[in-house]
Assembly symmetry: none
Homo-oligomer: 192 residues x 4
Amino acid sequence: MARHQDDEKRTRILQSAIQAFGEKGFTTTTMKDIAEQADIAPGSIYTYFRDKEVLFISAVDTVWKQFHQGLAAILKEQETFSSQLDAMLDYGFDLLKELHPLVRGMYQEANRLNLFHKNLVKLAKQLSFFFERADEDKYTLSRFDKRNRMYLLKVWISGMLFTLSSLPFERIDGEIERQKSVIRKALLVHTP
Amino acid sequence: MARHQDDEKRTRILQSAIQAFGEKGFTTTTMKDIAEQADIAPGSIYTYFRDKEVLFISAVDTVWKQFHQGLAAILKEQETFSSQLDAMLDYGFDLLKELHPLVRGMYQEANRLNLFHKNLVKLAKQLSFFFERADEDKYTLSRFDKRNRMYLLKVWISGMLFTLSSLPFERIDGEIERQKSVIRKALLVHTP
Amino acid sequence: MARHQDDEKRTRILQSAIQAFGEKGFTTTTMKDIAEQADIAPGSIYTYFRDKEVLFISAVDTVWKQFHQGLAAILKEQETFSSQLDAMLDYGFDLLKELHPLVRGMYQEANRLNLFHKNLVKLAKQLSFFFERADEDKYTLSRFDKRNRMYLLKVWISGMLFTLSSLPFERIDGEIERQKSVIRKALLVHTP
Amino acid sequence: MARHQDDEKRTRILQSAIQAFGEKGFTTTTMKDIAEQADIAPGSIYTYFRDKEVLFISAVDTVWKQFHQGLAAILKEQETFSSQLDAMLDYGFDLLKELHPLVRGMYQEANRLNLFHKNLVKLAKQLSFFFERADEDKYTLSRFDKRNRMYLLKVWISGMLFTLSSLPFERIDGEIERQKSVIRKALLVHTP
DNA sequence: GATGAATGAGACTTCATTCAT
DNA sequence: AATGAATGAAGTCTCATTCAT
């Protein structure tokens, strides 16, 4: 079934917003920026989103939804625990690269922080549950009890996100490779 | 003689700035906010700081300087490695609690991100060097080579910072206790 | 379709600017003054002119362009040298009366002075060329060589401009008549 | 009799004001500029001059007074008409070079314009009277009747002042020489 | 008298939002 | 529905003047 033309325009605005908010943060991004990027008139944005705040929240939600869907798909598609882990790692970082700038936008005003935290907890829970199934002799994370594992994951994910955010553009790829390697070799696999 | 520039007043402005930038970020904080908080006229801020940008950087520098000095003092005062570690952990989190909001201010505009990254790397280096001296059978972090240890530290510190930042005020204390405990029991000490 | 940029409105802003800058100079004139005069919101000016500087330059250009066009028209319409001279004198002073205040605006800051000088030279050149054609026994100005004639014209034009500028409003008309008469009877026509 | 120390300081402020107003105009010059130039505290200026306006007017008056005194001295010192004329021309342009920038300051606000006009008329009168005595076959200016001569002088003086003002600094000397020469050779001396 | 920090009104400019077209 | 000009509140910063020292 083909989408409405309206839906297509809404999506275009949303994508522009994700990009712009990501690059310049909430306050610094102007509605005109987003409109130009979406090749639309500034006033038209208001047909689809009540105001800047709502647009921002929609952008963030879109990104997280995308992410959670991606993870779910991986769990379905891959069969063994280890191949799921690999796929999740690859997928996670791919998305990270694209989206980490958006996270910055969440840090501008206190009332948007819980938007981040809520989703962070949700993600940590999923991953924690994921590791619960694994062989605890093999994976470091599996050796912790639920609660501590949640904390480790929350902190670690935040850490990756913000380490990337604070890096100049040209060093992000290198950093991602390094992080993947550290995670795979040193953190995940428990070598006695 | 006329009134002299007042160190106490400078400090008051700086403290107000640290608090305001922390709570509301760089762009959202207005000079008027800071002036009111410091109980002076808006124009007076400019006697002590050239512009908003300089004030912000001064605030960030102040905070980091404070932090590095604190760490240095601990290394001098404490004698054994283990007591140094304990003291650093306590001190680090105490400060974290006070200062994490400011870090948010660094995330508003791309050109201020390196301010954060620079200091993050500096801190990670210090800590990495610290763990190099330790008995590698006892401390997890000592078991990694330099490079990987740096990465772990960078990510971990960022992670703690931003996990705290994203928490509502009343849950910060609890979170800190939990993190301390996780670090002490599970991450630092290597239990084979 | 939305409202289009409105040439009539642009002109209104420009006219207000010409008047205001003329009366109070560049620095003293505020954008609010101009907006009120043009009966629009202050912010609207920026739809048509990037900033105050650009608006000022546009105002000056407008005035000079008008003047040069007027002169060109006279040269086409009038046939004999003497009728051209008469028409130019009348036209020049009519415009002078309207526009001299603006010139004052050019004197406020050093970096805008060349705006005046450039146009002054252009005008002197045109007039110098004009007198070159004339019978040198009849017109004083025709008796000088090119270079000196240029100087005389430059100084004379400046002089008229600023003599008018320094006069209270109600004495301008009288002064103009007097100047016309002096020029016609005593300066232009060479009576041996 | 030695001057008061206060008088010395007043003079220093006045000189700084003349220079600063001349270079940057009335509005753009700040009291701090003048204070620094005079090596004095901003607040101290107010001991000697009620406000910026009064200081400006005092500066202008000082300059004109200086000028009129200079002319008077020349008339006393020189004996023949022709040597007086020469000396006045030299002296006038020397002063012009130093002071023309100040005139710009007079053009910023309408209420300061008459300051200029008043002094201009006074000067023109003096010069007109001067030429009255001369041999009308020899000097162009002497051939006009009083009224017209006044006008010529007013316009011409303004013209020189503002032509100089509109020139970039490095071209002023050349322009002065040229003007002197034009005046001497072509305007003053009447060559039938 | 001198000093210069403090004041606060006011300038330019930006931008989310509205609304005539 | 779409457009983009219009609005005007609000932000940063400057500076003449005051006044505590």
